[in-house]
Subunit: 413 residues, 2 copies
């Protein structure tokens, strides 16, 4: 089995100034071509810690992917350590300079001496050009294993992985294992209730197929993961187990696509040629933002009115001032009027509206922080629901977004 280890380098990670999103992205990309990540490690810009991480990784893994620490400034020391570790020196690489010159000409800047230093690369490595930045990737081989150093900037790392590194890894390492995941979004169970319901199913699973539960914002993501050396046999075994699972919980499966709810909803809207408008108060634009992260969303998403102030609720969404006064902005009456108002204003088939208290201030005994009303409309059908989403502002906004998208999905499905 080809084990992969990911090492991310940077003090900014260890002090929590930056969240590492690279490792998850790399793991997904590697899984798709049959490589398994067994360890992820983060260390600071510190010689000893980086060397120890290299030692351990090369001992237990065939492929070591390293990101970070190769910028032009003094705090970036990975390149120096790579030279020492692989007992080599720096050599000038004309291709790296040429690539930098193209980048700088395009943006009308001049290469200064520090940037120029990026054209020096460890001479024990194969250099992989980075079309998006000044630091190339470098590929080291030792005892049949490889260690690849890449920039930590996510867009540059992704470009290098997609265009160069994944294909080279596939060519270098014979794929001896196939990995397949199948994920279901299941509604209407708590994690433990679902586990009890699936107890027999789980006991009867073959040894190479594994079931995992991932509770996520009111739903359970249920994941079957299978591994086998024979791709055909694995596909068949996965299909058999998937059929059994569907027989057990079929009606509670929301979707079999391992995609976020905004993609699942977007696909349904496209299929049915429906348009959507959003009226957001407490979620402050997050529903519109979430929908528009999906490429092609302009097909069905007309727009949104973020009505943070009552004035905007009245002027653009035609909410009744009397009802606002009587019931308050956070009420079923107002959120229903918001959903209708945005349907009219943006002339859409469907709409979503939210109004709630995201905190930390604004909560009362009757309507504490976390209280959110959501209404969804599909032509002349409107439904609304009251939720309690906890204490944290971030979590309330995120949960309300998910719940709203899910409510609309169920209404039009």
């Amino acid at each position: 089995m080809i084990n992969v280890e990911i090492i991310t380098i940077g003090d900014e990670l260890l002090i929590g100034q930056v969240i590492d999103t690279n490792s998850a992205w790399m793991a997904q990309a590697l899984n798709k071509i049959g490589f398994e990540v067994k360890n992820m490690v983060t260390v600071g810009d510190n010689e000893k810690d980086i060397e120890k991480a290299f030692d351990r990784a090369l001992l237990r893994s065939s492929i070591v992917l390293v990101t970070g620490g190769i910028g032009p400034t003094k705090d970036d020391i990975t390149k120096k350590i790579l030279c020492k570790y692989f007992d080599c020196s720096l050599r000038f690489d004309g291709e790296v300079l040429k690539n930098m010159e193209e980048l700088f000409t395009r943006s009308g800047r001049e290469i200064n001496p520090l940037t120029y230093g990026q054209a020096y690369v460890p001479d024990a490595s194969t250099v992989i050009q980075n079309k998006l930045g000044t630091a190339p990737a470098t590929w080291f081989e030792c005892d049949g294993k490889v260690l690849i150093s890449m920039p930590g900037v996510p867009s540059e790392m992704k470009w290098l992985m997609e265009n160069e590194i994944l294909s080279r890894l596939k060519a270098t390492f014979k794929q001896d294992l196939y990995i397949q995941h199948k994920t279901y979004w299941v509604e209407g169970y708590t994690e433990s209730a679902l586990a009890m319901h699936l107890d027999e199913f789980e006991k009867d699973l073959p040894g190479n197929i594994h079931l995992a539960y991932l509770p996520d914002l009111g739903l359970i993501r249920l994941r079957l993961t299978g591994k086998d050396e024979n791709e055909q046999a694995l596909s068949e075994a996965m299909q058999t187990q998937a059929a059994k699972l569907q027989a057990a919980i079929g009606e509670k499966i929301l979707t079999e696509e391992d995609k976020p709810i905004e993609s699942v909803l977007g696909k349904l809207l496209t299929q049915k040629s429906l348009t959507l408008g959003i009226a957001e108060s407490c979620t402050g634009g997050n529903i519109a933002h979430t929908l528009t992260t999906v490429p092609g969303s302009s097909q069905y998403f007309n727009g949104a009115i973020i009505a943070y102030s009552n004035e905007v609720k009245i002027s653009l969404l035609k909410v009744s001032p009397a009802d606002l006064d009587k019931e308050g902005a956070v009420s079923e009456t107002v959120v229903t009027q918001m959903a209708q108002g945005v349907q009219t204003a943006l002339r859409t088939d469907c709409s979503i509206a939210t109004s709630g208290i995201a905190g930390p201030d604004g909560g009362t005994a009757e309507k504490p922080t976390g209280t959110v009303y959501i209404a969804v409309a599909y032509r002349d059908k409107i439904i609304s629901q009251k939720f309690s989403f906890g204490f944290s502002r971030e979590q309330i906004i995120q949960r309300a977004t998910n719940a709203a998208l899910l409510m609309l999905y169920k209404l039009i499905k």
Copy 2:
């Protein structure tokens, strides 16, 4: 020095299904009380890998924080491994059951046998009640070191850290090191140009103060980090260096607050009692969302019109149909009209408008993917600018959001 290691457990992390945000949050919280995180490690739900991670962590760190793998289902094995590792068995804990009963009563559910199992805890541990969930934290001591197991659900981990664990760590470990960070957002330099400019300053830094460069969306975050056993001496040394740094690049420092631009802008709007409205096309709600992640944003943020379709640009933002036709939606003329239109529609002092091509489709030779026009208005002053933000949809939306907030900040500062 008190070293901390963070171990996150879960197959969902290793296959990239979930991004680990817990580690960064914990690192920030620990830094504030003088503890340094030296290693972050992620392993799967696998007995051997978890045990090895415990071994290494307890060898090199005084405090080991573990999250994940303590849910009620079969794939969660951390509790079993903790018993084996600390050579103890499970005991029933009445307080944990009582806490679960309260949680379940509140949400009107019944405790099933699997959930009931959560009341069994390793008897070598001190149990720390988790008011937000069924899995308590457990605290193990061995040879003057501690290992603490917590749930992986971010809200539960944060609640436990803030209310219980940080204070207990402070009481257990004498703080022998103080850590101070000071961060500046610097504009108008590339990373290497700034590093060359600060070469002398950096060479003259005392050994316990370190300078780090973090390029981020068109700005550089410059971070001074100091460590010392004497808090007073550290504060003084940091002040001296901060003054030198300001003398060197004073006019290019955008802010000294280590806060995202939306907070910095929000503070300025509050100070000046200004209101803000947003008109978004290509950013699809992300600017409104970003602004409303800041508590108290309802003070200055009236609302937004997300005009994804041209129809909405015309009907709600009063963009001229003739100009839309002649110049196209992605143009200086249209984005300027959008900024004026939203100022009028939402009656605000300031506004931001965006129109661009976020891709992957829609680009042309003249206006390739990544082309974004941004306009910002402050009363009757309006400025607009054209940008090229690269290839990736996610990056284009994020960069446009930052650039827009920054443009408005500079206009009203």
